[in-house]
Amino acid sequence: MKGKQMVLGLNGDEAVAYGVKQCNVDVIAAYPITPQTIIVEKISEMVANGEIDAEIILAESEHSALSACVGASAAGARVFTATASQGLALMNEILYIASGLRLPIVMAVVNRALSAPINIHCDHSDTMSVRDSSWIQIYSEDAQEAYDSTIQAFKIAEDRSVLLPAMVTLDGFLISHTIQNVTVLPDKDVLNFVGEHRAIPEIEMEGEKFPLKLDPERPLTFGPLDLYDYYFEHKRQQEEAIKKALSVIKRVNEEFSELSGRRYGNGLVEEYKLEDAEVAIVNMGSAAGTTKYVVDKLRKRGLKVGLLRIRTFRPFPADDIVKILSDLKAVAVMDRSMSFGALGGQLFIEIRNALYDLKNRPLVINYIYGLGGRDVPAKDIKKVFEETSEIAKRGFVKKNELIRFLGLRE
């Protein structure tokens, strides 16, 4: 039975903490860093008030925080952590261990630029730099989605066919510190949705079944030496698992929409006014909100423009993207991060790659934008639409138009 939902004034960080509280998490290990701090503060407060029956470990670094999460998750606990920027960079080594050991840890990453020079504001360089770590990555557009995605992430990560850790990202300050009306589910509904405890999967060895966790009664070795004879096979299993997450994320998005009435496209990508569009922008995170506003404005003037928001960057929903973009004339991919020395930003590289096999493919150009929290006003998004429409009309991309910097002073 679905209960009545409640509207609260929460910023993105508080919304994430509220979601974590409702998911009956056993262990939270974290280290505070701007702009994620509020998440850890709020959860500490909830634990201290007895609102959550969880063990909170305030570690001396992010490396230790995620290591503690790995231990707790290997023991069968439902585990949460949160970080940003330098903290995520410091966790790098343990990220690969968490995914390699197939531990469904959920982590909120509040996107913030990487040093140097030091900067506390939003861009996606931090999560983009760990895109190959076999963690699921879901990018939120606003505080509501950060709350919803946090709850969904537990269900996705813990699915038997996935068993991989998941990151839910929210743009630093733009979402994390901006108060919004967030509609929250009743505690009981969330608990029913994610399950009271983490379901421990079984693995079979020599015809015998073992629960996949550290248990003195049925001992297993986690993380032993795995050389050239089996390491490759284990990595192939990880690739299979993250690909399986594509359908799990879609399914969880549907189930969540039945429960809450809220859905985010098909869970992987969200289309906005693309049915008859000729020109589109592809982006992620909070800039998608501004883009929707601009699309509405330009549509009123009769321009056939639209937006494709990538919600799930890992696993990369290539099939959905190809299907949606194939009929367009020109597409502008916006990257809030730089892959230095590469042929464009990370999102651009993947999207252009995905479209390569199409006979009739749209022209694709790249804009790097918003680094270090550089504002992305509606007029900049409008400029992207105008320039992309011009390229669509012309029918080819000039060399100096392929990769450009939006909002940069020359």
């Binding site: 390699g100 068993l163 693995i203 060895m205 073992f210 070795t221 004879d229 089996y230 284990h234 299993q237």
Partner: protein
């Protein structure tokens, strides 16, 4: 004649790198360059080599001279270093 074990495919093995065969099947003794020889006459049966062996490759019943399990001894030489009466010698292992 050596028996070659058929390696299994990625669909057949447990996930997460959990070892699905016992470490007893990995004969790490082949890594060795030098092997320890325990001199029965010098040995005072104190058991320190048994205590210090990082691989449980020294077997001891608590009374007799300890024995080295050459299937697993990697030849690290810690037993030789720790023996208080110099009863263990590391000699070149010719295989």
């Amino acid at each position: 004649m050596r028996c070659v074990k058929l390696l299994r495919g990625w669909r057949e093995i447990p996930i997460a790198g959990i070892p699905f065969m016992s470490s007893i099947e990995y004969k790490t003794g082949s890594w060795r360059a030098k092997k320890p020889i325990i001199n029965d006459k010098k040995c005072i049966k104190c058991g320190l080599c048994w205590v210090y062996c990082p691989d449980f490759a020294i077997k001891w019943d608590g009374r007799e001279t300890p024995k080295v399990d050459y299937d697993f001894c990697k030849g690290c030489g810690i037993c030789c270093e720790e023996c208080p009466v110099k009863a263990i010698e590391m000699v070149r292992d010719e295989g």
